[in-house]
């Protein structure tokens, strides 16, 4: 069993497990940190961005670099279509992958990079909400990135000149492997491959093992995967939460006692408690709104957004701000809001109970009906612009502030200190996200809400799950000697650490395979006691392997005349010589002479020219070709040998 790690970003994991001759990809996260090095793509042309000064490294005159780099408040940005950092493609041949298992929609964004134009022929499994909401994320991303104005095409030259560029651009990790986002066509082809599974559904993976998605409590449809064969169990825990939010709670029982536990996608903001952050957010929003300012929350189109809408609307009601409109701006806003309310089977028990009434599980449907919450495909929708009132709260993407409606709103509101921007998504450092908009007069608050496991929760979980072996991205291990200590996973089981590009062998060894024994064959064997609690019998069975499932049945009789292999005989000790002589007499072979020596004895049958050497671990019979005599000898020996 081997595990490969293809992703640099522990929160957007991508592993490949090789097991039982199968290659199983666990998640395919797309790291979007790279986009922070690019200039924002405003939905409408921005004069400020267009008039930023060009940057040229000192002492370098490279005409090819012309116009690729711009400077804003001392930081250098690439003026180009933003690029992403997909999983490493050189370690594992994607065409050889058998299965891709997706744990939740935040960890599937690189799917088209894996499955399209790579010769991929395997199966992709995800839960229904993962597929649907993942589709919203991907479609939104594709639309934002392709819909931006500006962006001078593909800048490439700067990648050759990293060594002369200032930080943080100089520190960019392997920019040459960065890729432009896939086309919409590739995206829909990739999503069409996904097969939908339910929680606790056992998916048969080519007869070799069962894969089961179990609830992970992180978001709608989020799953941990349990891979199980008759003797081995691997648990993949990615993006799990033990907190109570809107999704179904985590199913820990299914993860217990695994041979290997792979842990990924822990919280990205371990220092921030999500509950406190939600409270802070409500307070900041209220203060800003009271002062007549508007609030911008750069968010993804699903997930924590639902909790934000629920909590913030309730909080504003109590604060006497029930009249403040809430806007969600996204190409998929309508679908996302509508869709969340038909996923009754995937939400927490409390929300589920509402469905039985029947009412929508999330209150945002009621907010939409009441006209409190409005959604729009984009900022320049006619209906939306006609209706737009300030002060208000706007939720829109993208959290990186490099593309999407948020770019325009920040540009618009940056100079007004009454407005506020509140960051809730943990994926991007907020100061980096804001860098190209400096100088900024509007208030910026950082209230990251990441409900995935923090380190102490993860340590507790590992202790409770009792795996025999643990595999982690190296970021989660204790800091190497000398470095400042950091929160980490400490477990008293063997731990394998992985970094991008690494392949590690795991400890699980297979020794047994599960088969079925037919009743007819079972009836033929008569096991004898070998010792207390253990019975055994030699057996010969017809073997049938179909769809990798092994069954044993009664072996057909041999063709007459031809010999065949026999079931092995397990004799445990030497025959008792006196008994042997006696038995030989009964079989019509009398007159045996016995010669005893230090290491055994020799039984001599002079009449049949036969010698039987009896030693401790072997009995050797030298006889002539007479089959009848030999059969008699066999019977005699069998009679006085304790055997199985």
């Amino acid at each position: 069993m081997k595990l490969y790690c293809l992703s640099n970003d522990a929160a957007k994991p991508c592993f490949v497990l090789s097991f039982k001759e199968l290659l199983i990809m666990l998640d395919c996260g797309l790291s979007a940190h790279s986009v922070l090095n690019f200039l924002p793509l405003p939905p409408v042309p921005s004069t400020r961005l267009a008039s930023l000064p060009n940057y040229t490294p000192p002492h370098l005159n490279d005409p090819l670099l012309e116009g690729e780099l711009k400077e804003c408040c001392g930081r250098v940005f690439v003026d180009s279509i933003p690029e992403f950092c997909p999983p490493l493609d050189k370690v594992v041949d994607f065409s050889q992958l058998d299965v891709i298992l997706i744990s939740n929609y935040t960890c599937m964004m690189a799917l088209p990079f894996i499955t399209e134009d790579t010769g991929f022929k395997g199966q992709v499994y995800a839960t229904e909400p993962t597929l649907q909401i993942g589709r919203f994320y991907l479609e939104e991303l594709a639309e934002w990135v392709s819909g931006g104005a500006g962006g001078a095409g593909a800048a490439r030259r700067w990648k050759e000149l990293l060594h002369v560029l200032p930080a943080p651009l100089a520190l960019a990790a392997r920019p040459r492997s960065w890729r432009r986002l896939f086309s919409a066509a590739a995206l829909s082809r990739a999503l069409a491959r996904v097969r939908v599974v339910g929680y606790d559904e056992r998916v048969d993976v080519y007869g070799a093992l069962d894969a089961t998605a179990v609830s992970s409590g992180f978001c709608l449809g989020s799953a941990n995967w349990v891979l199980r064969s008759a003797h081995e169990k691997v648990a993949y825990v990615s993006g799990s939460s033990t907190l109570t939010t809107h999704p179904r709670p985590i199913n820990q029982a299914a993860l217990r006692g695994a041979d290997v536990l792979v842990l990924a996608a822990l919280t990205q903001t371990p220092a921030h408690n999500p509950d406190h952050m939600l409270g802070d957010l409500c307070v900041h929003a209220t203060v800003t709104l009271r002062a007549g300012g508007s609030v911008l929350c750069p968010v993804y189109p699903s997930g924590v957004l639902y909790d934000l809408l629920e909590c913030l609307s309730a909080h504003l009601d109590t604060a006497g701000l029930a009249g403040v409109p809430l806007y969600v701006v996204s190409p998929v806003a309508d679908s996302s809001l509508a869709y969340s309310n038909i996923l009754a089977e995937w939400v927490s028990v409390g929300k589920q109970a509402r469905v039985y009434l029947p009412e929508e599980p999330f209150p945002h449907a009621a907010l939409v009906r009441a006209g409190r919450l409005k959604h729009a495909r984009s900022l320049h929708d006619d209906a939306f612009s006609a209706d737009f009132r300030q002060p208000c709260v706007v939720f829109c993407g993208h959290p990186s502030l490099r593309f999407g409606a948020a770019v325009h709103l920040v540009e618009l509101w940056a100079s007004n200190p009454a407005h506020a921007i509140i960051f809730t998504e943990p994926d991007f450092p907020y100061l980096d996200a804001l860098a190209p908009f400096q100088p900024l007069a509007m208030k910026a608050f950082h209230c990251p809400i990441d409900t995935s496991l923090n380190y102490s929760q993860a340590n507790k979980l590992v202790r409770e799950l009792r795996p025999r072996e643990l595999a982690l991205p190296e970021q989660y291990a204790a800091a190497p000697g000398g470095a400042a200590p950091r929160p980490h996973i400490a477990a008293d089981v063997p731990t394998v650490l992985l970094r991008r590009g690494a392949a590690r062998a795991l400890g699980a060894r297979r020794s047994m395979a599960r088969a079925t024994l037919s009743g007819a064959l079972a009836a033929r064997v008569a096991p004898r006691d070998v010792r207390a609690g253990l019975r055994a019998a030699p057996i010969q069975a017809a073997l049938r392997v179909r769809d990798r499932r092994v069954s044993l049945d009664v072996a057909p009789p041999a063709a007459p005349g031809a010999p065949r292999a026999q079931a092995p005989r397990l004799d445990c000790s030497a025959p008792d010589v006196d008994a042997l002589v006696h038995a030989l007499g009964r079989e019509g072979l009398p007159d045996a002479r016995v010669e005893r020596s230090s290491d055994g004895c020799i039984v001599h049958l002079p009449r049949h020219d036969t010698l039987v050497h009896v030693e401790r671990h072997a009995t050797h019979v030298f006889c002539q070709g007479d089959a009848a005599v030999r059969q008699a000898l066999r019977r005699a020996i069998a009679a006085c040998l304790p055997h199985v």
Binding site: E345, S518, G519, A536, H620
Partner: protein, 595 residues
Amino acid sequence: MPDIKITPLGAGQDVGRSCILLSMGGKNIMLDCGMHMGYNDERRFPDFSYIVPEGPITSQIDCVIISHFHLDHCGALPYMSEMVGYTGPIYMTHPTKAIAPILLEDMRKVAVERKGESNFFTSQMIKDCIKKVTAVTLHQSVMVDNELEIKAYYAGHVLGAAMFWIRVGSQSVVYTGDYNMTPDRHLGAAWIDKCRPDLLITESTYATTIRDSKRCRERDFLKKVHECVEKGGKVLIPVFALGRAQELCILLETYWERMNLKYPVYFALGLTEKANNYYKMFITWTNQKIRKTFVQRNMFDFKHIKPFDKSYIDNPGAMVVFATPGMLHAGLSLNIFKKWAPYEQNMVIMPGFCVQGTVGHKILNGAKKVEFENRQVVEVKMAVEYMSFSAHADAKGIMQLIQYCEPKNVLLVHGEAQKMEFLKDKIEKEFKINCYMPANGETCTINTPTKIPIDVSLRLLKAEAVRYNAQPPDPKRRRVVNGILCVRDNRLSLLDIDEMCDEIGINRHIIRFTSTVRFEDPGPSVKTAEKLKTLLSEKLEGWTITISEANISVESVLIKVEGEEDSTKNIYVSWTNQDEDLGSYILGLLQSMVQ
């Protein structure tokens, strides 16, 4: 041989009151717990005293599975859980759990408040009963206990209808409940994978019918309704609140819109809005088309269909009314029927199956006068039409399902005896498998082959695979393994002999036989050995024969040629006791060669 035993307490050669007892591998499972619409006495409920004459029932039943929310499948559940006292687990899908209590309450009201029956369960009992239900999702494999596993498949019959696959040990059964193999306007078609159960228990409502295409039926329906209202007639469509009603509403709604008709259409139940809300919440259970378009337009928001008020019954002029219940056995639909039946221009369309004993059944069989409990006689002059809109599988659909899941036996329930007989013949002929159709209270026993799980040593399997793969491919070649079967703590394993010795810590005692054959063959002994090998290769097909100098080995049989050049050779043949067959065969071969 282990058995599977099935006893229908209801739905055996009968429709209504589905309740089937299944026992296998020491587990007892109740499939559905329905009531009979045609009776008003104790025959209404299944006879639970069959399970245990007296005393607690819970210890006798490991779980109850409800396939869908129709009352003939879940109507007796509160009676069983609250009045008979069953406290074990109950399983159904989420939509069933949401909708069943509403129908139960509806029925309870009709029975208690309109008919004045006593000894019926109360509203509180329905609520308490539903609280005990465990909701399952499609394809989720639920372990009821360590040995009993169930899994739901989409059945398409009504919202939330499911088929259940049930496994105990190596035995498995599929119970279909009611299902539909053709997608309709709001639901998808039933689907199951090739799970090869030992037994398929299937409904057979339309065992002999092969229905014409859906489109024709719909066109017929619309034409009849249109003609009737054009002449100023009133159309009564008795339906159940949830299910067919929604499909017919979608159908009429789109037709009214397309034809720009203005005749009023009413949906006569307080439930309408609520019922449609359930469809909105559980839209994941409807068909693909509705699921895809629901964001833009929810199919269950009707423009032309208005709620009905009782005062409209006597309104003049044409109208179309959907009214509950569907079999005209009580309630509003029956009231409307009584008022409208004596007029020729009116029409009643029965869109589903009617159980024996109901007014619906009577008029469908051509009754021109219907007598009621209070001696009231109503003349039936209105047109009576039957349109098979119930979403049951027809004969073709049932055969299709059998083909999908490849059962080893089939058992028919939920149908009429004669029709079952016909289908039984057909199944037995076409699939060459046994088909059963027990009557209520009759137990049917089905033998299944034993399959015992066993752990096989990989070393043994790999060694076999190496031998097998070394030979030219031949799919018919028999594969054989030899090993030692171990039984420990009731668990079986098959080990290689050496592993076995290691396992129990003993040294193996090996018995070997050696015989000598003299052979006149001048030349070096290596040459003789090669000759022997050629001979053996000819005779021993499928065995691996190796030769090194003058030693030949086949499995544990060793052959050694000794002797000076140009003289008699001694050929030693030696083999272990277990290879006696092979050893004596080779020895015999050499002996005959010498002579």
